[in-house]
Each structure stands twice: as structure tokens, then as C-alpha cells.
């Protein structure tokens, strides 16, 4: 028995915002009551959450754990430990491992490793096409048996419109979510950042916003054609958001996520330091404003980090030769508070929704802080000042542009299945 005492409980599902005691019994939430009212309180281990926010467990629906195959950059153990320290209780891991998670045995390997070594829940995403090569449909049903919750060729889009259409058709028949990394690879070829004044000044090859939005348009039209559930990953451009808005207005089952780095930084922040290199790249000032508006008005369904660890040996090189991607777990809550809540752009409840019921709904799941539900909780501070030191990250990699940044508020404790996965 674990009693979370005196915390300010915020639950988007029930619209609860009150100071409450939450009693966890084993793997489930046993009781929720006004402070001091719980009869069993004396028998329980107590966590004093006074002054802290107690929320349903945060979900990060877009992460790269690099296992199997790139264990120098991350493992399921280190990645999920970093996730727990960042306040996440569950992560969706992308299939671009080595080998690619395109068959049930790899899926089972990931599920088993996560059971044995994971600090948070791990929900694998299977490759949509064999090897994510865009040629043939992978064994999606077999992978679903093994535990995948969605398919994606993340790192790139499903290569052709025809195959994307076929995969969407198939996944509609399986009632499985298709997650698209929407990018016109010919428009983006050779580019290492967003095209604009900043890329022109730096002399770095840029990709236009249209590299993303033309593919989002393709994918939205295919979702319309097939009726599939489509989720646009790491959406970065205003024009892409307009496509999603169009889809939602027309009743399509289309959702999208935005990363903390895209709602925090813009192309003008890019230097020759490859920690500013990710795909999609940091977008324009106008795009960032549009993302902030979309996060507030409900067009955006989830915040996802796109945690993409790369070891220094491959990341700390010339900008144009470095792989895309940055760490995401450690700074997600801090950045969300900093950019969304402390600026009064979003109510705290909406921010929590974007980390909880939002991604859960994308997947067709519930997420609530209620009696009988799994005891997954994210507890965080709204105002504790702290400075991010990436050297202290649980991740095996160090590629964060936010190293040294000062935050107001951040993760305090992460509870997965009734146990502390992290306690500050």
C-alpha cells in the first residue's frame, strides 16, 4: 500500500482539480479521498505530495530505445530509466532498430526485454513495411499478437502513396493505428535543417516546410480514401497543422503530435552544433506560433518527445554528417511548463491532457486517475527551480540542445504499477 498524500490531483478524464489523498494497492488505485480521510492511511507507505501535482501516468508515444542493435546509444533499460526520470510511465518505441522491428520475434524480444529490464511500460510500434523499406507489408497481425500497438515506418514515410494506401486499408481491417513520419523525401533530400533565412545564412542545405506538408496532405487524403486511423508524428509546420485541422473538421480519424523542441525552438536557434539537428528540423517562428495555437485549441492531440539518442562518436561530428535526433525525456515536462503553462498559453489541465488522455485516445485507450485503474502516476513540481545537466541523464547519450537550461518545475516521482520507477 502506498499513500500519495496531500497532492494536487489533476485528472483530465474526470476534470478533477483538488487536493486529495490517493491510495495505491498493489498495481491499482484503491481509493481517492479528501486529505486525511482514508481509513487505511496509517498502514501505508506515505509519499508526501504537498505542493506537487499528481496526474495520471504520462505517456510518450514517440521514442527510440535503440535496442536491439544500437546499444551504444541506448538500451531498453537506460531509455526507460530516463523515461521514468522524465516523468513518463509508458513509452511507444519506434521500430527503426537494427534489425527493424518488422516481425513478431523482434517484437517479442522488445516486450521481453522491457518486462525484464524496463522501468516503465513499453508499447512497441511495428514497422509498416518489411524492413521499413516501403516495398511489402510487414507481418502486422503477427506483430499485433506479440504486442505492437501501432505501425509506422518512422524515420521516413511509407515510401509510396500506393503502399501507404494498402497499409492503411489493411490496418483499418485490423483496427490498428498507422503513424506516419510524413516527409516528401525528394524535397528533403540532402537537407539538414529547415530552409529559410537561417539555413541560407549558415550555408546549410534546407528543406522547405512543404517537404512535410505535402506528405501530410497525401496521408490525410489516403486516410480519407481508406477510413484508416492515421496519426501524424512530430508535426512541425503550420501548413501540416492546417491539413490535420481540415481532416478533423471532415470527421476523419486523423490525429497528430508535437514535440517539446518544436514548440520551444526555431530555425533561428540552430548553430553548427549538431545537437540542434533533428528531423523534422526546427521550424520557423511562424510555425512555432501555429503549433502553440494548435496545442491550445485541440488540433494537436499529444506531446511526444521523439527521444532519439545517438552516442557522441556518431553525433558529435560535422553538422551535415550528424544523424538526426535529440534526447527528449529529461526536459519534456520542464519545457512544457516553461513554454505552455508558465506563459499562460495553456491551462495546466490541458498540458496534462496532452501527456495522458491525449495520447491514450490516439491509441483508443483510456487514461484516468480513478479507483480501479492501473496505479500509474506522474508527480511533478510546478515551480521547483532546476538546471538540466545532460551528463547526469540516465540515457546513454548526451545529445540535448537543452543542456544547461534552467527550468521552473519538473518531475518529482514516477509511479508505474504501484511502484516508484523514479523518485527525485
Amino acid at each position: 500500500m502506498l499513500l500519495i498524500k496531500n497532492g494536487r490531483v489533476l485528472d483530465p478524464a474526470s476534470n478533477t482539480d483538488a487536493v486529495l489523498d490517493v491510495l495505491l494497492d498493489g498495481e491499482t488505485i484503491a481509493e481517492i479521498a479528501d486529505p486525511g480521510k482514508l481509513a487505511l492511511a496509517n498502514a501505508a507507505e506515505i509519499f508526501d505530495a504537498s505542493g506537487l501535482i499528481v496526474a495520471p501516468g504520462f505517456i510518450d508515444m514517440h521514442v527510440h530505445l535503440r535496442e536491439p542493435g544500437q546499444e551504444n546509444s541506448e538500451t531498453i533499460e537506460t531509455g526507460t530509466r530516463a523515461a521514468a526520470r522524465g516523468g513518463f510511465t509508458a513509452v511507444f518505441c519506434m521500430p527503426n532498430t537494427k534489425p527493424v522491428n518488422d516481425n513478431a520475434s523482434i517484437t517479442r524480444f522488445i516486450v521481453d526485454r522491457a518486462k525484464a529490464h524496463g522501468h516503465v511500460r513499453v508499447w512497441p510500434i511495428g514497422a509498416a513495411s518489411v524492413g521499413s523499406k516501403g516495398e511489402a507489408i510487414s507481418e502486422i497481425a503477427a506483430m499485433r499478437e506479440a504486442g505492437i500497438v501501432a505501425v509506422s515506418d518512422d524515420g521516413k514515410p511509407i515510401a509510396t502513396a500506393k503502399l501507404a494506401r494498402q497499409i492503411m486499408d489493411y490496418c483499418r481491417s485490423l483496427d490498428l493505428l498507422v503513424i506516419e513520419h510524413s516527409e516528401d523525401v525528394s524535397l528533403a533530400a540532402g537537407a539538414v535543417m529547415r530552409e529559410g533565412v537561417a539555413s541560407t545564412r549558415l550555408g546549410l542545405p534546407g528543406m522547405p516546410a512543404a517537404a512535410e506538408s505535402v506528405c501530410v496532405a497525401r496521408d490525410v487524403q489516403l486516410a480519407k480514401l481508406t477510413g484508416a486511423r492515421l496519426h501524424i508524428a512530430h508535426l512541425s509546420a503550420k501548413a501540416s497543422l492546417e491539413q490535420v485541422r481540415f481532416a478533423k473538421e471532415n470527421g476523419l480519424r486523423v490525429t497528430c503530435e508535437v514535440t517539446p523542441h518544436h514548440f520551444t525552438l526555431i530555425d533561428e536557434d540552430v548553430t553548427y552544433d549538431s545537437r540542434f539537428k533533428m528531423n523534422p528540423p526546427l521550424a520557423s517562428r511562424e510555425d512555432r506560433e501555429a503549433l502553440l495555437a494548435g496545442l491550445a485549441d485541440g488540433t494537436v492531440d499529444a506531446i511526444a518527445t521523439d527521444h532519439a539518442p545517438h552516442e557522441p562518436a556518431i553525433k558529435d561530428v560535422e553538422f551535415d554528417k550528424a544523424p538526426f535526433g535529440i534526447l527528449g525525456f529529461d526536459t519534456a515536462i520542464g519545457l512544457a511548463l516553461d513554454q505552455l503553462v508558465h506563459t499562460n498559453r495553456l491551462p495546466l489541465m490541458r498540458m496534462i491532457e496532452l501527456f495522458t488522455t491525449g495520447p491514450a485516445r490516439v491509441l483508443g485507450k483510456d487514461r484516468k486517475l480513478a479507483v480501479g485503474e492501473p496505479a500509474d502516476l506522474t508527480i511533478f513540481s510546478l515551480n521547483r527551480p532546476w538546471t538540466y545537466n545532460v551528463k547526469e541523464s540516465a540515457s546513454k547519450s548526451r545529445n540535448s540542445p537543452f543542456d544547461g537550461r534552467t527550468f521552473k518545475g519538473g518531475p518529482a516521482a514516477t509511479i508505474v504499477s504501484g511502484k516508484f520507477a523514479h523518485r527525485a
Binding site: 533565412v197 541560407t200 549558415l202 550555408g203 560535422e318
Partner: protein
């Protein structure tokens, strides 16, 4: 005044005063180029790495000559002979060369920002001898020196740049330098090579306009910088050579649109008959060979400033005990 940076990575962060200071430092070295015996002892005992990860003849020889005339030794690394071919990373190569204890690291590299990257990891001065499509600071400086010598000053000139501006590190360094002196820029070429974003990369308030007709670009020009059409490296996108000649080649007829006495620069090597006709390239308005001579003097000034530093009124070309004494020359003034 002293030079306040450890490295020379770009002209963008330098002020007009700082740029003038560097150009002034080059003047006595220009004198030395005219002397029958050109070697100084200023940098005797110093070692300069010339790490050319991207092929270059002119710039490498110019830096090598500059180092040699200052009395320094050089260590040469050339792309085709280097261990980069064996998969060594840039950082490992730089660290290995640095372990031989040189005093300055001159580098050219095909990646924009590569010199910035190396400078972050080394403690010795790094000179950017051209990084990708970012900057070519020594070229920007030698161009300015050439213009100043020919036209008297750098202030408020109409500067026209012809060619693939988008992929030109020379154009960027020209804009960052000359923009600080109030110059107005007209960038001209096919639209794919002259993106509108270029209008905003200069020093704040610098008038930069992109035009697509060469006749419009040449009107009232004081200085015309003709960029090389890189036949060995594909422009993105590539353009029919015949189309380029038809639309943008600088020829005698078109030169009539510029101001009389307008100066023509070209960073070299020239493709005769493509971006410029031989008559224009070799004509009286062309300063192409002066650029090359000034390149050595400019690079001597850069190496001197980074490795020794300068104190007011004490210029090495005059003060240091050279193996030859240059005749009295215009003193570096500040």
C-alpha cells in the same frame, strides 16, 4: 586595437573597425610582395597546419606562401592523401594533427560549419579557409583589400554578384564584409541559385536585392563579383551551360551597363567563356590577378594576427628582424 578572437571562422561577427584593422595589417605585407627577397622571420619556429579536406589549389598555395614568407613551417594534409579516406572522423584527424603541436590550424572542408566544429575542440587558432557553402573569410578580406586599393575606399558601393549565390561561401563573406561599409548588393542569377532569403542575411539594414536579369543587375554597379560556374561540382539544380551563357555571361556588351571604371573580381579559377568572356576577364577593369597577389598579403596578416597578435604601431613587416628588411611602407594605422 587588437584582434579580439582566437580564430578566424567567419566575417559575419566582425565589425567595420575590426575589418579595417585586418585590412590595414595587410598593407605592409603587400609591400613585401613587391620586394625581391620576401621572407620574414616573424613566425620562425611556428608551425601552421594546412588541412585541406576539400580540394583546393589556389587557397592552399596562397596560405602556404603566406606562412612561408612569415618564416613558419607548414604541415600539409590533403583530402585524397588523408586518413579520412580510411574512415577517420574529422575530430580524430584534427586531434591527431594537433598532437603534433602546431600553432595554427588552417582548414578547408566541404561541410558548412566544419571550421566552427574543429575550433570548438582545439585550443589553437583555427582559420577557416572555406567551409561548405558558409564563408570564405580570407577571400572576403582579399576582395575588400583589392577593392579598397582600386577604388579608394569601401563605403557605399554598388556591388553586384553574379552566379550561384546560394551555394557561394565567397558571396556570403563579401556580403558580411562589404555590408558593414554601407555597400548595396544586387545578387543575380537564375532564381534557384538566388533565393529571396539572401536578402536578409547581411548586416542589419543592408540593402540586398535579388534580380534575375543581368542587365538590371549591372546597372550602376561599382564592383562586379563574378562567381565561378562550378563545372566540376553540380549546382543544385544544375542549369544548362548554354542557358547560363545566354542569360548571365559577363561580356563586353553587358559591361557597358555598369559604371565606367567598374571593377571586376572573380575568386577563381575562371571558366573562360562561361561566366565571363576572356576580353572582360583580361581587360583593364579586371582585378583578378591583383586578387591573387593580395591573397598572400591578406593571409600573412591573418596568420600574423592569430599567432602573434598585434600591438599598435609595431608591425612585424617593419619591427621583426626579417631575413630581409622591406623598404619603408605605409604604416599600419589604427
Amino acid at each position: 586595437m587588437t584582434y579580439r578572437f582566437r580564430d578566424l571562422l567567419a566575417l559575419e561577427p566582425l565589425s567595420a573597425d575590426e575589418l579595417t584593422f585586418i585590412l590595414d595589417q595587410a598593407k605592409p605585407f603587400q609591400e613585401i610582395q613587391r620586394h625581391p627577397l620576401k621572407k620574414l622571420a616573424t613566425l620562425r619556429g611556428k608551425t601552421v597546419v594546412l588541412a585541406f579536406f576539400e580540394n583546393s589549389t589556389r587557397t592552399r598555395l596562397s596560405f602556404a606562401t603566406a606562412a612561408s614568407r612569415l618564416g613558419a613551417d607548414t604541415m600539409n594534409l590533403q583530402a585524397e592523401a588523408s586518413s579520412l579516406k580510411k574512415g577517420e572522423t574529422l575530430l580524430d584527424t584534427a586531434n591527431n594533427l594537433n598532437a603534433m603541436r602546431p600553432d595554427c590550424f588552417v582548414m578547408r572542408h566541404a561541410s558548412s560549419g566544419a571550421a566552427d566544429f574543429v575550433a570548438r575542440h582545439l585550443e589553437i587558432p583555427v582559420v577557416n579557409a572555406g567551409d561548405g557553402t558558409h564563408e570564405h573569410p580570407s577571400q572576403g578580406l582579399l576582395d575588400a583589400l583589392t577593392i579598397r586599393d582600386r577604388l579608394g575606399n569601401l563605403n557605399n558601393l554598388n556591388v553586384t554578384i553574379l552566379g550561384d549565390i546560394s551555394h557561394s561561401r565567397v558571396a556570403r563573406s563579401n556580403i558580411h564584409l562589404l555590408g558593414k561599409f554601407g555597400c548595396r548588393f544586387t545578387l543575380c542569377g537564375p532564381a534557384m541559385w538566388v533565393p529571396r532569403e539572401l536578402e536578409k542575411i547581411g548586416p542589419a539594414g543592408t540593402p540586398i536585392r535579388c534580380v534575375y536579369r543581368v542587365e538590371e543587375a549591372l546597372e550602376d554597379a561599382d564592383v562586379i563579383i563574378v562567381l565561378r560556374v562550378q563545372t566540376e561540382r553540380l549546382h543544385e539544380p544544375s542549369l544548362s551551360q548554354n542557358d547560363y551563357i545566354l542569360l548571365y555571361q559577363l561580356n563586353t556588351e553587358r559591361m557597358k551597363l555598369a559604371k565606367p571604371g567598374a571593377l571586376i573580381l572573380h575568386p577563381g579559377p575562371i571558366n573562360r567563356g562561361i561566366e565571363i568572356t576572356p576580353e572582360v576577364a583580361d581587360g583593364p577593369q579586371s582585378a583578378v590577378l591583383e586578387q591573387v597577389t593580395n591573397g598572400v598579403a591578406t593571409r600573412m596578416a591573418i596568420l600574423y594576427l592569430l599567432m602573434v597578435g598585434a600591438t599598435e604601431g609595431a608591425h612585424p613587416a617593419l619591427e621583426a628582424k626579417p631575413e630581409v628588411t622591406p623598404k619603408e611602407s605605409a604604416h599600419a594605422s589604427d
